[in-house]
């Protein structure tokens, strides 16, 4: 990768990280959404055992909607603060996209580290293949970050924002979401562990990253 591009990506990542720590809105919304949802499920179950398929689906629903609650702010906050134009003048499209994508991925990995141990603890689930679960979660996070960053840029300027991000995200992310649920169910003991799905997820993540990179130029630069 070109040195100046990498330098720019690091700068955008640093800016996002600093602002994230200063205002904390995205962090607290995501973490509290995940925690509240998990607590509701756990309270409702009252310790009753959950089938691995159901547990896996629940985990990914929590992760997906918690991500939706925080990852949609990437460009909307810049727009509201009036800094989007400055970023457009000083930052190249690829620098901004990859910097923000990296930050969103970092945010999602932190969320995963927070919620998955709690999920396993509160629902009493046991992991049979920790490595596969870690790989699945990481690939899932990368996919959500790749699609989420581009879609966050799409929704900037939309008159109705509430719910729009999730509506646009779900169809695009399903190819990551469904194999992730299958694999997670396998690691929680459903009997089947189709490890080759990981390759499919990685391939689709790669396609999402490449497509986001190509298409973002059209959004970033005015005619």
């Amino acid at each position: 990768m070109h040195a100046s591009l990498w330098q720019g990506i690091k700068l955008v990542f640093g800016k996002e990280f600093t602002l994230g720590l200063r205002f904390k809105a995205a962090w607290s919304t995501m973490f509290m959404f995940a925690l509240t949802t998990l607590a509701c499920v756990s309270l409702a179950l009252q310790g009753a055992p959950l089938e691995p398929e159901l547990a896996a689906a629940l985990l990914w629903i929590i992760l997906f909607f918690a991500a939706m609650a925080g990852a949609d702010r990437g460009f909307a906050d810049e727009d509201t603060a009036g800094t989007l134009l400055t970023l457009q003048i000083y930052g190249s499209a690829q620098t901004v996209l990859w910097g923000k994508m990296l930050y969103t991925c970092f945010l999602l990995v932190c969320l995963t580290f927070f919620i998955v141990p709690l999920f396993l603890l509160l629902l009493g689930a046991e992991v049979a293949a920790g490595g596969v679960l870690a790989g699945t979660l990481l690939l899932g996070d990368v996919g959500i970050a790749a699609a989420g960053t581009l879609i966050a840029a799409l929704t900037t300027g939309a008159q109705v924002k509430s719910g729009l991000f999730s509506v646009l995200m779900l169809p695009v992310i399903l190819p990551v979401f469904l194999p992730a649920i299958f694999l997670t169910a396998g690691t929680l003991g459903s009997g089947q562990l189709p490890v080759h799905y990981l390759l499919g997820m990685a391939l689709y993540d790669g396609v999402l990253l490449a497509a986001a990179s190509v298409l973002f130029d059209y959004l970033w630069y005015e005619d």
Binding site: L154, G157, V167, L168, L170, P171, L174, L178, Y218, L219
Partner: protein
Amino acid sequence: MGALLGILTLLTIGLVFFVVPPAEGLGYYVRLAFLHIPVAWVAVLAFLISAYEGARFLRSGELVADAKSAAAAQLGFIFVILATVSGAVFSKLTWGAYWNWDPRQTTIFVLLLIYGAYLTLRGAMPAGRRRAKVAAVYALFSFLTVPFLVFIIPRLYFSLHPSPVLNGSGLAMDTIMLAVLMAALADVTGIFYWLFRRQTKRLLAEGENL
């Protein structure tokens, strides 16, 4: 063109009800397939056209391409609803349940979600070049799901759905049925093309994409 399509539609309906023989295992329920298969085909075709016109808009900046992309998606949404409903009824009549997440039901449902998302996005943006650009990018981005829907989903789920008419072993359909199906496909594709042209003109006339 409208009159010609009207005649072809009446002719196709006549063929379906009076010429097509009952199918083995399905009886006269097979008549529904002559609606279901063509509308499902057009739903996919409209998706391809919408993405293609979106790409054309991004390359050339012509607002006609945006109007065509929007028109294809609007019509595709109607056809995908028809495909979903006719498929669910067919499923109830043959398998005993309206919905069981069969791979093809999943595929058509994802297509329904994409159309819905595309139209929601257009509805949430003020008309203009920005909306055209955003809609085109989303049409192309969501098009990435196609290989997954076609190749991966069928491997994830068990299917009761009949094999495609054209499969690896050649044609798997009675000759009369196949001829009528081809007529129905031509008819519904023609209806889509007719509506597509009218809708594109209407959108351009209304300044919908300006």
